[in-house]
Each structure stands twice: as structure tokens, then as C-alpha cells.
């Protein structure tokens, strides 16, 4: 079980990114972290994986524990050895290395005995990565790169995977695919802490969910319950008839405004 207690983090001296955030990820479960831009979602993951320092940030209070072992004082490398793995946002693959090498690089700190098995697991999950083994990773499509990033993390045989916006910039069909991949990974016993802006997908695959707002925990609970709650509907799912109508009106008004402004403009590109 991963527990985050009263965690506060900041970047530099002034930017407070997290305040008193507490949450738990039970073993073998999927927990979604929702929130808008700048809510502190990525900061939370970085704090857990120990890479906050790479981004000029630090933990100012609170603690993080994984199976009773404090993680917040460990170096990133030892956190990986405790089989807590982060997949950072933006599909940061090694573009100049081949797909296979990317995967092997993921297993650099894993014990030799676990590597072959992990590779097989990755190839079963993502057959495309086996097909493309020899290709430079930079030539993969966006969705394939995301799979590679996840596959590479799986090479260290993680017990908990910290996924940061895996659906970012992907086509809707691919987003659904990522959702089912998260489920597949979870089905083999790996816990997942899933940070997502795509709340629909996240709430569909998660057991539990938390909502962060400007660095603070706003809501938390069962994923299905949250998906049904008015507040989440309004803020993240955009599913309300009322809000849809409102958005439509706003668009037409804006369009009308644009049309009205045009003849007045001196410079019309």
C-alpha cells in the first residue's frame, strides 16, 4: 500500500504546488488523480518517484510510504529498486535508440532473473513493440511511443506504476486503448496511480479517485461514485445538458462577435 500523508511540496522558494495532500493506493488497485492544469497532479507523482529535485522542487512537509518503507528520503534509483515506477508525461522515450534498446534500458536496474520475464510480459501486452523491435523509437507514432514508455517502465517489474497523463495528445480511439492497457496491467497485480485530464477514461478504469484543485485535495472517493457526482460532472466530465448549452451559446456569441469585429478591423489577414 502506498500512503501519502499531509504532503506539501513547492518549486523554488515561492511556488507552492501541493498543500497537505493525503491519499492511499491500496495494493493492486487503480487510483485516478483528476484536476485541471496546475492542480499539482504531476508534482504529486514526482514527489513519490523522488524526481521533484530534477524540476527544482522539494517536499516541504509530510511523508510518503510504500509498504511501510519511507520513500520521501530515498534517491530515485532506490525508489525504483523498491519497484515504484513513474512514467513521466510527454512520452519521454529515447528517440535515438531502437525500440528494443529502450525496453532493455528500462530493465537496467532490475535483477537479471526478472528481465526476460518482464520482456515477455511487455511483448504480450504490446505486440507492436515486438514487431518494431529494431526501429528507432523516434519513428513510432504517438500512441506507440506511449506504449513504449509504459512498456519500458514495466521492464523493472513494478509493483506500483505512476502514470502521468498517458492519454495526452492521443486520438480518442487510442485513449480508449490506453484505458484498457491500464486495466490489463492492473489485472496482473500491479497497482496504478493514474494522473489524467481525461476524466471520463480515468474514472472508467479506476477503483478510487481523488480530485486536486490548486494543490489541495478537493474530493476523494469511489471512482464510480465520483463519476456520478454533480461536481465532477460539471467540472471534468462536461456532461451536463446545462453546461453544454451554455458552452454552445458562448461559442455562437464568440463567432458572432468575431464576425461583427471583422469589418471594423484595419488589418485583416
Amino acid at each position: 500500500m502506498l500512503t501519502v500523508e499531509q504532503l506539501s511540496a513547492r518549486y523554488g522558494r515561492s511556488v507552492s504546488a501541493l498543500r497537505d495532500v493525503s491519499l492511499t493506493v491500496p495494493e493492486g488497485s487503480v487510483v485516478a488523480v483528476l484536476g485541471s492544469n496546475g492542480a499539482g497532479k504531476s508534482t504529486l507523482l514526482r514527489a513519490i518517484s523522488g524526481t521533484l529535485g530534477l524540476h527544482g522542487g522539494s517536499i516541504t512537509a509530510g511523508q510518503i510510504a510504500w509498504k511501510g518503507q519511507r520513500l520521501d528520503r530515498l534517491k530515485p534509483a532506490s525508489i525504483v529498486r523498491h519497484r515504484v515506477l513513474q512514467v513521466p508525461e510527454g512520452r519521454q522515450i529515447f528517440g535515438r535508440m531502437s525500440v528494443e534498446e529502450n525496453l532493455r534500458a528500462g530493465g537496467l536496474v532490475a535483477p537479471a532473473s526478472a528481465r526476460a520475464e518482464a520482456m515477455e510480459r511487455v511483448h504480450t501486452l504490446f505486440p507492436i513493440l515486438k514487431e518494431r523491435a529494431g526501429q528507432p523509437a523516434g519513428l513510432l507514432s504517438g500512441g506507440e511511443q506511449q506504449m513504449l514508455a509504459i512498456g519500458r517502465a514495466l521492464m523493472s517489474a513494478p509493483e506500483i506504476l505512476l502514470l502521468d497523463e498517458p492519454s495526452l495528445g492521443l486520438a480518442p480511439q487510442m485513449v480508449a486503448r490506453i484505458g484498457s492497457i491500464v486495466r490489463d496491467i492492473n489485472a496482473t497485480g500491479t497497482a496504478v496511480l493514474l494522473v489524467e485530464q481525461n476524466a471520463t477514461m480515468a474514472l472508467r478504469v479506476a477503483d478510487l479517485a481523488v480530485v486536486l484543485e490548486v494543490g489541495e485535495l478537493a474530493l476523494q472517493g469511489d471512482a464510480a461514485e465520483l463519476a456520478a457526482s454533480d461536481e465532477v460532472q460539471r467540472l471534468y466530465l462536461g456532461g451536463h445538458a446545462e453546461s453544454e448549452r451554455q458552452a454552445e451559446e458562448e461559442t455562437t456569441a464568440a463567432r458572432r462577435g468575431a464576425r461583427a469585429r471583422r469589418p471594423l478591423g484595419v488589418w485583416t489577414p
Partner: protein, 373 residues
């Protein structure tokens, strides 16, 4: 850079076996040619090739550092100096002017390589913090430091005017510097030049094989991960600082071996430079090593051997070909071999960067692709 893409991948087994067979045959053929060369070439040409081997060993170290680990170093000639000096100190017996331990030469060779590697690792606090050109400039300071230290400590490095002597390699029962035991191959007497040539060739082959092993395994993978994306490598549990330090240490160890070879090439003379920009261990040499790596294709071991052939080989070879052994300013023409070589490799660098930024290694890959088609 170029070899990363072509790194060992799971190809079709049949094709892989065929490639392996071809490679083995090629390596054997090359080995035979290199073995037979001293029987047909005069010793002055052997010296040219030995100088190329020396450059190749150093350049292989540098190309791994720059191309595979992504760290620019302009201090390679400094590590060459460290290697040479360490060997001289370990191997020579020492006298009233110089310090020396008189260890067995093979042990001294190994110790010199290890010492240079450790000195490279000492640079880790700096190499771990700086990147790109900043690291390059910072490392350049080592060349000046080395020049100054070598001139300050004649008892260790030898005096800048006369230097000090270090013995050639003596294995139990086989002497590389003297005809002991005397040896005949195909009715040709194998003298010290031939012996040294074989030694240099063997050391180069050893350095190449070791480098290939390191690059295709976990060591190289860690370096490339750090080179491509430090943050990502950290997230995967790779210690960036340690990877950078290892890369610098390994690269320096290669330079150290090259340093020992330089001393042997000068028939055992270890002499510090009298000026920092010109000589055997100065800034010009540091840039020459960089040029070898660029010409060969950054990160490619094979390419760096070709780079050494051009940057170290041509200036030695050209005077032999036009018959004038002295290529000084008194030879009556503005186009001395050194000037011609400088023009050639200057032009080569410009051409390579314009048409094939991956250097000879890139060219080679293109040819291989053409042949396979």
C-alpha cells in the same frame, strides 16, 4: 550516435548467422593481413601505422564519451599524458633525478591504464554538473593543468628538454623491444619494429573488442539513456552521476593506454611538451582527437579508427610518399605535408558535416544498405 540505431537487435536468425559468419571471416582476414604487414612493409611505414593505432585507441575512448555518453571533452590529450607519465613512473627503475618503481612492464601497463581511469573519475564532480560546450571548455583547463604540472615536476614526468625513459613491454619469455628470443616468420627476421607493430595492433584490437562489449551491453545502454534524456534515465532508476563518471573513467583509461603507446612509439621516451599548444599532449592534439571522432562518426568505434588513419596517419605518411623525411619549414614549399594534411582534414570535416554528419560510420551504413538491396 550512428551505432545506437544499428545496435544488436533481434534480426532474423538465418540472416544473423550469415552476418556473423561474414563478420568472422572479415575479422580473420583482417587479422591475417595485419599479421603479414610487417613482413612486407619497411619500418618507417610500420611506424606510421603504429601511430594510427595509437590515435585509434585514444579516439575510441573519446568517441564513446562524446558519442555514446554525450559528454564533450577537450581534455583527451591530458589523459594521454597521464597514461604516459604513469607508465614511466611504474615501469622505469628510477634514478637520482626521477622517481620510478621498476615494476614488471605488463603490470605497469595495467596500472597506468587504471590510474588514468581513476584520474578521469576524479573529474566526475565537474563532468556531472556541466553539459555540452561548457563541459568541453572546463575540460580544456585540464590540458593546461597537465602542461603546467608536467613542467613543474620533472622528477615524475621527465624534464621538458630531455624527458625520461621507460622500458618497452617484456612478457615472460618474449621481449617486444629487443630480439629476445630471435624470431623468424617466412624467412623474415622479426625485429623490434615488427614486434611493436604486432603489439600495437593487438592492443587496438583488444580496445575495440572491449569497447564493443561495453557499448552493446548494460554499460553502453546506461550511457545512451543518460545521453538521450537525463530526467528519464533518473526516473528509470539509473544514477546519472555514476553513469557520467563511469563514461569519463573508461574514456580516460583508453586515453591512458594510448599514452603508454605514445611512449613506446617514441622508443620509450616520455617527454612533456615545451609549449601548451603544440606537441604531443597539447591543445592541438586534444582537438585532433576530437577531429578523429567527428570524421569517423561520433560514437562509432570503427569510424574512429578511420578518423585516426586520416588525422594521425596522413601527416606521417605524406612526407614518406614525396620522399622528404623532414617536413619542416625549410623544405622550400608552402605546402608541406603537415599543411596539406591540415587542409585535407579541414576540408573533410566541412564535407562530412555538410553531407554526412554521421561521418565514416554513416557512410559505411549507407554502403551496407546499398549492398543489401
Amino acid at each position: 550516435m550512428s551505432e545506437t540505431v544499428a545496435a544488436p537487435i533481434t534480426a532474423r536468425p538465418a540472416g544473423a548467422r550469415k552476418t556473423l559468419l561474414l563478420k568472422t571471416i572479415g575479422a580473420l582476414a583482417l587479422g591475417v593481413v595485419v599479421f603479414l604487414l610487417p613482413l612486407y612493409l619497411s619500418s618507417q611505414y610500420l611506424l606510421v601505422l603504429m601511430w594510427v593505432f595509437t590515435g585509434a585507441v585514444g579516439a575510441m575512448g573519446l568517441t564513446m564519451l562524446i558519442g555514446q555518453a554525450g559528454q564533450l571533452s577537450l581534455a583527451h590529450s591530458f589523459f594521454v599524458l597521464v597514461g604516459g607519465v604513469s607508465y614511466a613512473v611504474y615501469a622505469s627503475p628510477g634514478d637520482k633525478d626521477t622517481i620510478g618503481f621498476g615494476l614488471p612492464t605488463l603490470l605497469a601497463l595495467v596500472l597506468a591504464v587504471v590510474t588514468t581511469g581513476l584520474v578521469g573519475a576524479l573529474f566526475a564532480p565537474i563532468s556531472g554538473r556541466l553539459r555540452g560546450i561548457y563541459l568541453g571548455v572546463a575540460s580544456l583547463s585540464l590540458v593546461f593543468l597537465g602542461f603546467w604540472l608536467a613542467n613543474q615536476l620533472p622528477s615524475i614526468a621527465g624534464s621538458a628538454s630531455s624527458g625520461r625513459y621507460a622500458p618497452s613491454l617484456k612478457l615472460p619469455g618474449f621481449d617486444f623491444g629487443e630480439q629476445n628470443p630471435s624470431l623468424y616468420v617466412l624467412n623474415v627476421e622479426i625485429g623490434s619494429a615488427e614486434r611493436s607493430f604486432w603489439l600495437f595492433a593487438a592492443l587496438t584490437a583488444l580496445a575495440y573488442v572491449a569497447g564493443r562489449g561495453a557499448l552493446s551491453g548494460r554499460v553502453g545502454r546506461g550511457w545512451r539513456a543518460v545521453r538521450d534524456n537525463e530526467a528519464m534515465a533518473t526516473v528509470m532508476g539509473v544514477s546519472v552521476v555514476r553513469q557520467k563518471a563511469t563514461a569519463f573513467a573508461v574514456s580516460s583509461a583508453y586515453a591512458g593506454l594510448a599514452g603508454v603507446m605514445v611512449v613506446w612509439w617514441y622508443s620509450g621516451l616520455m617527454k612533456p611538451d615545451e609549449a601548451v599548444d603544440f606537441g604531443t599532449y597539447g591543445t592541438t592534439v586534444a582537438i585532433s582527437y576530437l577531429a578523429m571522432c567527428v570524421i569517423g562518426g561520433l560514437g562509432s568505434l570503427g569510424g574512429s579508427i578511420l578518423g585516426a588513419a586520416i588525422v594521425f596517419g596522413l601527416p606521417q605518411l605524406l612526407p614518406l610518399l614525396n620522399g622528404s623525411t623532414s617536413a619542416g619549414s625549410l623544405s622550400g614549399t608552402a605546402f608541406t605535408p603537415v599543411v596539406i594534411t591540415n587542409l585535407i582534414f579541414g576540408a573533410l570535416i566541412v564535407l562530412i558535416i555538410m553531407f554526412e554528419p554521421r561521418g565514416f560510420a554513416g557512410l559505411g551504413q549507407r554502403i551496407v544498405r546499398l549492398v543489401r538491396r
